[in-house]
Symmetry: C2
Subunit: 443 residues, 2 copies
């Protein structure tokens, strides 16, 4: 099914004109220091009719076998068209549920509110979508003889978990740089279990980032951080699959939590491709949601997209987006301009309560998803999201990764959070009449 004529390569995302083969090891534009992006041959892609792309993607999903059944590799011509099938490293990422929240939608006056449940995933977060592309590319590089000893990243958690799992599946050594005592136990243990060499460093996230960049500047370690544009090619499939879920009809709004902003810009790349190839006929609007304590994009937006002013991110429950100097700031701004986008922010109380409110409809939202849901509440209340709008939220991780957040919320012990939906257990003796009395008001 793969059209052999399709090609893709690196190009500088700042438009300086630099290009390179995808099979070179290059992370940033050597001319202007801009981030790279994977440029597809859109003319060749457009030669296939939209109806044929839809048919092809659907027929791939009909099988649950990998790689066709993967949310990324079922659309492989749009990811890395020249990658040989045998180099694909898939754990069955993507094709995740779209979960409606009808009660919350009705209360907010929205036509619909849906969660794209990207935490229902092999390693429990949406990073799997991108990491399968990166690790597959590295497997291919190694098979071509490029001397890569190991893959490496600095990460607050989800990225390192995803990298370690995919590298383990591929049999490629992985190294993870983690700030000591800054990530949850559940997050630290995934790379450890997957056999990565975990370096627990006496520094913060930025310090880890500096060290990993210094070490990967040596030959032999391949850098998997979010400036790596291969990952974007997988992350963009979230937007594509979301439109597919809706019968190739985009929602009015897509909302995503934003930290380093690579994933926010990936949304735009996916939607651009859908629109340019004729699979969707209009562009949704996009809202990026930030924690109030780590809101450099929101600050820029309020000033009409002023230049980035890096900040020291404050401690937030939404630890995965606690980033004050986002690497993909410029591409996120370009994306927001193209999609009539907005940026909203959420306080600790707002994010925690929005997550808890969604949980009451059967999900188990992580704090980052809480930030996005709180943004929806505020944008609906302010009228930016019109009455009756259809809204899809990218739910970025499984709440199981943030059990302490959930427990703290329902115990009402979280700092700066007034828990409006706390639901503590009822402690009772093992006695039938006590139990009956405790259930009298139900239903």
């Amino acid at each position: 099914m793969t059209a052999p004529a399709l090609k893709a390569g690196y190009a500088c995302s700042e438009g300086c004109g630099f290009t390179a083969s995808l099979w070179e090891v290059v992370y940033r534009c050597p001319r202007c220091e801009g981030l790279l992006e994977v440029a597809h041959d859109e003319a060749a892609l457009r030669a296939v009719p939209a109806s044929e792309w839809k048919r092809r993607f659907e027929s791939r999903f009909a099988t649950s076998r990998l790689p066709d059944g993967s949310g990324v590799w079922g659309k492989r011509e749009w990811a890395l068209p020249e990658l040989p099938l045998e180099d694909i490293v898939s754990l069955g990422e993507g094709r995740v549920p779209l979960k409606p929240l009808p009660r919350m939608a009705a209360e907010l006056g929205l036509g619909s509110l849906m969660l794209k449940e990207c935490g229902v995933s092999p390693t429990g977060s949406f990073k799997d979508w991108g990491m399968t592309v990166l690790v597959s590319a590295v497997k291919h590089l190694r098979s071509r003889g490029t001397p890569i000893r190991a893959v490496a990243c600095a990460s607050t958690g989800d990225t390192s978990a995803a990298l370690s799992a995919y590298a383990a599946a591929a049999g490629i050594p992985a190294v993870v740089f983690l700030p000591k005592n800054k990530v949850s136990l559940a997050q630290l243990v995934q790379p450890i279990a997957n056999g990565a060499r975990v370096l627990s460093l006496d520094t913060d996230f930025d310090g880890c980032m500096k060290l990993v960049q210094a070490v990967t500047a040596d030959t032999g370690l391949y850098l998997a951080n979010s400036m790596n544009s291969l990952r974007i090619e997988g992350q963009k499939m979230i937007a594509i699959e979301l439109c597919q879920d809706l019968g190739w009809e985009p929602p009015d709004w897509i909302v995503i939590p934003g930290g380093n902003l690579g994933n926010a810009s990936a949304l735009g790349r996916g939607l651009d491709l859908l629109f340019n190839l004729g699979l969707i006929s209009r562009r949704p609007r996009i809202a990026v949601a930030q924690a109030q304590r780590a809101n450099p994009l929101a600050r820029s937006f309020r000033g009409g997209f002023q230049d980035l002013v890096p900040m020291q991110a404050g401690a937030t429950l939404a630890s995965a987006i606690q980033i004050g100097n986002p690497v993909s700031f410029r591409r996120a701004v370009r994306m927001l301009r193209a999609f009539d986008g907005v940026v909203e922010e959420a306080s600790e109380s707002e994010l925690a309560n929005a997550a808890a409110r969604a949980d009451r409809e059967g999900t188990f939202a992580c704090p980052q998803t809480g930030v996005a849901l709180a943004a929806v509440e505020k944008l609906a209340a302010s009228g930016v999201m019109a009455k009756g709008s259809s809204v899809a939220v990218v739910a970025t991780a499984h709440g199981l990764k943030f059990a302490d957040f959930k427990v703290g919320y329902h115990r009402e012990t979280l700092t700066d959070v007034k828990a409006a939906h706390a639901n503590p257990p009822v402690e009772l003796p093992a006695d039938l009449s006590a139990v009956r009395a405790a259930l009298k008001d139900l239903g």
Copy 2:
């Protein structure tokens, strides 16, 4: 697509002849106290050719929309054929990855070893498959006017999480009976977050079970425990989807951890249906794996399937199968006899090391899955599983639900476990030459 002629009803699984409508509230045979099962009209099902069933199931998966995209409701004629579509309560359960473990397979001399990753699921465990059926049936009962105030269960964890999430999605109140201080924090907090009334009772699992049965004997609370045969109709889809993943060619062996044994018997029901309707042409063998400290079925097996001798289950890391008096013992024995089955058991060290070994290939195995993997190691070593066999293991929960188990393993602090694959983090100063030295031997 639903064939309207298809019907199903309750029948006593002990063959006493009792039958009832699925829309009666009945949990056990009122004549002989046997467990019930859902009896399908196999003649009507057989009127549809096997090729048409395969085509239909695959075409449903081609869409990611629910309910067609669900691993259970994409095959709804085989679950509850008379359930109206509008009463389906789906969170996007099933259609989970089949993850190969090629290195472990090679080391064990097996042809293949695969994990059916049922923990990559909305609530993080394989219980979602069955709970979607039960809660959908309850929604239908309520829409027919049956006075059900709430659904209820007594559970060590995964069942209560699944029940609460599906009930929350359906807007049906849920009540969960939990033994105080006996389940992990991460497990307790899911029902709480999903708005269930959680009764934390000063007793053990058996005490909770007695109370929930007493309370549900009153009208108005619907019992969702594992004796409820509706859940089996969802759980059996695991075996069916597994064969679908393999192009309708069953593996030589299917291995599943066993506690209450309802899910083990569900495997047999799914395979029977596949075989009787001609979708598969041979029966795989089945191995049920138990923790050595909660091994009533293994003891019975060693005596040639002697009658159940209930035991006091000892504390095991595989807490979800820590059950000494399994409610589905008799149906599990019937299933094992029909599938040339065996029972194997694993010590604490064996289960923890087997889980860690699989993690090295990119999964994140729960302790119950560790029991099943340890059983594979032992059955391959003893020759019960012949060289070159293809083996699929039902991975029953996501390791994220057992973060303490993982952390304890890699810290080497688990009682009675000698951790052969511990991979502790390397603590380092934030210094480039120290980092380089720590990576010298890699790759």
